[in-house]
Subunit: 421 residues, 2 copies
């Protein structure tokens, strides 16, 4: 019965979001920017109320024994607020993508044809604990002219409600429909399934969370899905690579922020490079507090390292753990990555131009790097600005998803009476 | 039991296609073009055998009482062959999209980042009677560096087998893996479900056929789907539109080839234009053999026209039938199109610049035209070349899908030791 009511109300929310999306699609760039600036101003103005809502969430989450790391992610601090304000202002200042026409060309019959960039419509966003994502995702969706239906995590529910109210009021103050941003009022799993089954009402579903959530959404969704999935990311250290750089890149990739999806999880090293590289890597990783696990050949060179099991090759540790494997050739490295990689971020360290080009071309991942840290797979680092996630789906957006990835193009044709022969 | 065996063998086919796709992704542009040219040559060289296989299909189909129109679509004539040959040579001559790098820019830290165009991987293509589609879809997939698994219609099975054999031999002669093109060996409905459930093995599924097939695939698929769906296409004739041009566009849209998805199905006319426009349209449509159905207000002006029912507004006739409705404003036309249109092809005939711009911007369809026939929604007509279908899904490709729409981009980064601060 509750499910039934929940179903009706989520479908109704999506229906209202569709109507809001239709209005938003033709909103002026100035009105959208104004709504984003209002929201930035209110994050300061309404801070006490936001902090109170967040404190309430934190107390409840602490009582259920949520881990320290998750509590930290849940907390709205002045620093988080200032980052959100800077993000909102940056998105407000970006060029508005909607209505841009690309490649308007003249056909032989005088018909002008091109592609106009337009919003997707209504986006469903399913995410977990961090309440920042509520503001970041909504800002990108609005800039792109879309409505968004948010289904956040249970722990952040009160914080998300307060943030959505703030966003809705900012929209209204800019003369835009408040229902362009809505929060699903329940946080149970049934709400996820209901969103998945709203084919025809949602144009896109973006799940961001654990593997189980992603797989559930991919299986159940009746609409396109852009999955922000796990990163089983490799660095291949080639024969002849600059060892200092390779060690620096590996340490940066693993230890700079190990809990992110673009962190390094595995190092493959060419057998000829291993005797020099592995001991230096071991020393640097020990200093960074990283636990190493190795294949048999690694352990011949580094006897103190624990043995890696088959499960290590496909694990996303998101922790200070790194698995090492010695390979005999670039081909072996490519085959290993094709088998165990998750198409997220893959890097090579090499001085061999042909190897660099082959790795770039043949590795199937959302970002392939030569002689640089996998941690660069990030919207700001790649020069795109704010992002709503990193897609490992290949269709539409492969890699970081910013404002442009939340739009599409339709064809337009301008004639003066042309008919087909 | 048969299903079980079928399942294993379709999954195995897809697995072999994945391996072929990996080889094809790094194939040279010259080898791919050579395979396409070989196939073109063999369509002439092997013509007798192809014709015999097709004759066998035609005889069997005739015995089951297939309609004349469907038999025509099934028939491989010298003209169909010559069109296929021209299409193969055109695709062979197109620039190869794979490996192109767009927008390589330098980040402040010296890292060069850009997007490299790459194949999607393995495409599943589910289609109905015309055997031409076997060659056209395979050619586009190959040019884009993809493998393709084909599931054609029952009636064309023998013709499809012969064509796939020809394509496979052409691939081999060019040193490319024959298994890049494969035909599912059964044509039952279970094979469609099996393809839909091959998540992880197929990167994209393209269903091309009736509404029921599209909906089945959208519901069951575990991978992205680009649906080539129905076209409930409108022409809105504005107050002040050039009546001659409006009549010409309507007749061309409806009667030039009524069985296609880009044919015109409805005309909406502003009340102020109706008294002049409708009688002239009636006369022209009578000459073209088109049956008209109208709303009450249309029938006040054209008393001989049959009444349109509610079901007429959402019908895709694909026949010499056209429904007419009088509206009071551009707003009413926009609302009608938003409610009943299928996001395929929508046109306005107007002399009012603001109305033209508003229609262009606000109508959500894969092609929006001003003062031109909806029949231009076609790859060749829009300057794209051969197409595998017209997508009414908004993600990835909205509208005609050619070679480029069968690729994606991944990010690439070229560094010399950069790490993240």
């Amino acid at each position: 019965m509750i499910g039934e009511i929940g179903h009706r109300s989520i479908a109704e929310m999506a229906q209202r979001a569709r109507e809001a999306a239709r209005r938003l699609a033709s909103a002026s760039p100035a009105a959208k920017a104004q709504a984003l600036r209002r929201a930035a101003a209110r994050l300061h103005g309404d801070w006490d109320a936001l902090e109170a809502a967040n404190r309430h969430d934190l107390e409840a989450a602490e009582a259920t024994g949520l881990s320290k790391a998750k509590l930290d992610r849940l907390r709205l601090t002045p620093r988080v607020r200032d980052d959100l304000v800077a993000g909102l202002l940056q998105v407000a200042d970006m060029p508005d993508p909607v209505g841009e026409v690309e490649g308007l060309t003249l056909r032989p019959n005088g018909l002008q044809v091109g592609r106009m960039r337009v919003p997707l419509g209504v986006i469903g966003f399913i995410y977990e604990s961090r309440p920042n994502a509520t503001v970041e995702a909504s800002a990108l969706a609005l800039k792109a002219g879309n409505a968004i239906v948010l289904r956040g995590g249970k722990e952040a529910f009160g914080s998300n409600q307060a943030l959505v109210r703030l966003l809705q009021e900012s929209l209204q103050q800019a003369g835009l429909p408040a229902e362009a941003v809505q929060l699903v009022p329940t946080t149970d799993r049934a709400a996820i399934l209901e969103l998945c089954h709203l084919g025809g009402l949602l144009d896109l579903l973006i799940p961001r969370g654990g593997k189980e959530l992603i797989e559930l959404v991919q299986r159940e969704a009746r609409m396109p899905v852009l999955a922000h999935a796990e990163g089983v990311n490799h660095l291949y250290v080639d024969d002849g690579a600059a060892v200092d750089k390779a060690v620096d890149i590996a340490v940066n990739g693993k230890a700079q922020r190990p809990s992110t999806c673009n962190a390094l999880e595995k190092v493959l090293v060419h057998a000829a490079a291993a005797p020099e590289f592995l001991p230096r890597l071991e020393a640097a990783m020990a200093q960074a507090g990283v636990e190493l696990r190795g294949c048999e050949r690694t352990r011949e060179l580094l006897p103190g390292v624990k043995a890696a099991g088959e499960e290590d090759w496909s694990a996303e540790y998101l922790d200070l753990i790194l698995a090492l494997k010695v390979v005999d050739s670039l081909e072996e490295a490519l085959a290993h990555i094709a088998r165990y990689g998750s198409r997220h971020t893959e890097a090579i360290c090499t001085n061999d131009h042909a190897h660099a080009m082959r790795f770039l071309r043949e590795v199937d991942a959302s970002l392939v790097l030569v002689n640089a840290s996998p941690r660069f797979n990030d919207g700001f680092q790649l020069g795109l600005g704010a992002e709503i996630g990193i897609s490992t789906s290949k269709l539409h957006a492969y890699g970081v998803m910013g404002v442009r990835e939340l739009t599409t193009t339709k064809w337009v044709a301008l004639g003066d009476g042309q008919v087909r022969e």
